[in-house]
């Protein structure tokens, strides 16, 4: 059963949460729920480092953004690998015969 939480946050953080909710067409409650869900799922060491990094440079800090980019890249990597496994398992073998030797999308002439 859902429980209600109440918290006091700095005004800029409240404004940022409201902006995200508005941009993504979600309720503020949903944004807070997601934020708490992600934060509490992280290992303590990671939480501590992210909090420390935010305290130094804020959300626009270059190192924080770079770490976010690297995390997005790593997650995309895993998504691609998982999808590739499903694709490999799902390929229809009957379509493979013409593909076995010199498979191409279509003949490629000279570029000009």
């Amino acid at each position: 059963m859902p429980k209600a939480l109440s918290a006091t946050v700095p005004e800029p953080l409240e404004a940022r949460a409201r902006a995200i909710a508005r941009q993504e067409n979600r309720s503020l409650s949903n944004v807070v729920e997601n934020a708490l869900g992600v934060f509490t799922a992280m290992p303590k060491e990671l939480r501590d480092q992210l909090v420390a990094r935010l305290a130094v440079g804020g959300p626009d800090d270059a190192a924080f953004r770079e770490a976010s980019r690297e995390l997005m890249f790593a997650l995309a990597h895993r998504r691609f690998e998982a999808a590739r496994v499903a694709i490999v398992e799902g390929i229809d073998d009957q379509t493979l015969d013409p593909a076995l030797d010199g498979w191409r999308l279509e003949p490629e002439g000279d570029a000009r």
Binding site: A76, A86, I87, G90, L96, D110, A111
Partner: protein
């Protein structure tokens, strides 16, 4: 000491498809597999690597896999992941900006023959350091 500039690499769509086919055939360590895995790692030869891909290439990849009977949900997930790998690579390129329908040969080549095919090459191939095609790899 400054960090090495990322290598921008275009992999022909056939390399992505061959990577999948070779895995289906149970092959390991093929050139296509190594190239795709290097792009997934974001690094080639110890140097950061940025995938360069256009929306047209992603659509070709998607269409080819669907023609092979791959499940559409997995195909969509793979295509979306490639988009995010490109956007979140070391140079954070956006495939939406890689537009240019004109087939041109603007990429550095190593032999006398043009090395760019039509349509699948990201149009801003001149943004790329390297273009690799299926004919240069083995399944």
């Amino acid at each position: 000491m400054t960090a090495a500039r990322p290598l921008r690499i275009v992999l022909d769509v056939n390399i992505f498809v061959t990577d999948v086919l070779s895995r289906r055939l149970g092959r390991r360590g093929t050139t296509s597999q190594k190239l795709v895995d290097a792009m997934l790692a974001g690094e080639i030869g110890g140097r950061p690597a940025q995938l360069v891909i256009s929306l047209a290439m992603l659509e070709s990849f998607r269409g080819a896999l669907l023609r092979l009977g791959a499940p559409s949900a997995a195909v969509d997930a793979a295509t979306s992941a490639l988009l995010d790998l490109t956007r979140n690579g070391p140079d954070a390129l956006d495939p939406y900006l890689l537009l240019d329908p004109a087939p041109r040969d603007r990429c550095p080549r190593q032999s006398g023959r043009p090395s760019i095919g039509r349509a699948r090459t990201p149009s801003s191939a001149d943004r790329a350091s390297m273009l690799l095609r299926r004919s240069q790899t083995r399944m």
